[in-house]
Symmetry: C2
Subunit: 202 residues, 2 copies
């Protein structure tokens, strides 16, 4: 329940919430590119005056950070879910592939933006470091699954991680929410290819 006392005595006008401003900013960054997009572009797309925008955030970089945090927070939170944090490494790996696809499908613009980050600003460098940390944790899972004897031992864990998550990340190129291909169908295909392979057993 909202605190009605507070709601009736606002300290300043907030007709638009910050989350909605972040939604708009993420779209503008995807369309124009972060470097080219200006606070003026975002204000225009949001239907706000530029000065109103500064009631919500300190500037463009904060909008980028807030947008990318949504995707990163979801990915790191998934790691703490029971199915991803307990049990055999191979099952945890399977869970994380599924959760990554689900998060991409739910937060498609944020993940698409995350995958484009190249490290030109302080925020982007921080984001790249978080992505590398995530990749290291996934490579560790692959390695642990090999040690446990559940994943074949003739593969390099780091390269497997890049390729498997390269496959799942590639869906941002064509996945559209509400389209004919459902997330569960993508997850089934990815996990079958990755764990069982295409070859039909004789």
């Amino acid at each position: 329940m909202p605190d009605r006392g507070e709601a009736t005595t606002p300290t300043r006008a907030q007709p638009y919430d910050t989350d909605r401003v972040v939604d708009v900013a993420v779209q503008v960054f995807l369309e124009r590119g972060y470097d080219r997009a200006s606070m003026g572009d975002i204000a225009r797309a949001a239907g706000l005056g530029k000065s109103s925008l500064y009631h919500h955030v300190t500037g463009k970089e904060e909008l980028l950070e807030r947008g990318l945090r949504r995707a990163l927070d979801a990915l790191f939170a998934a790691l703490k879910e029971p199915a991803a944090s307990t049990g055999p490494a191979v099952d945890r790996l399977r869970t994380m592939i599924r959760r990554t696809v689900e998060i991409m499908c739910e937060q498609l613009p944020e993940v698409a933006l995350l995958l484009r980050v190249r490290g030109n600003t302080e925020t982007e460098r921080w984001v790249l470091e978080r992505r590398r940390e995530f990749d290291r944790l996934m490579a560790r899972l692959v390695k642990d699954a090999i040690t446990a004897g559940d994943v074949r031992a003739d593969l390099d864990p780091g390269l497997v991680t890049r390729l498997v998550f390269g496959m799942s990340n590639s869906i941002v190129e064509w996945y559209r929410p509400g389209g004919s291909v459902r997330p569960q169908r993508i997850i089934d295909h990815i996990t079958t290819i990755v764990f069982e392979g295409l070859t039909r057993e004789a």
Copy 2:
């Protein structure tokens, strides 16, 4: 052997060949984005005057077309090689996955540019149509391999094609020629994951 007679009587100064101009243009398009890059940017990067550039090509769109044709021609030529055009569909599919990775590693900038095309110009729309044609041929291979009983039948050929080539395309994000990961190692990993899967046989 070059025709010496022609070489000693040039009809106009050609101190720089067109292929080299295309190399430079592809780099400029990758760095600035095709829409933002100008003929002036390309001339500067090539160390040529802008008017010299027009001795080689009619404009920016021709440079894009010539760059992208390199990647497309290589991919379609691979389809006609004996190992890709005769024998069981599953072997032809395996060959095409290998050849696609080889072509990406050999022509990394051209393929990276190809993967970024969004259809904003006539050339880009033509390129997207060629890419779709390539994807249709690959999906046909997957379908034929299922019909032949070599690939599991519980998967959708179109979705398999997107995911498998999504995995191989993802290497443009991190592969660097001359780096520690060799193309053959990438090919071995992709074909093992795609055909055999990660699960260690009991």
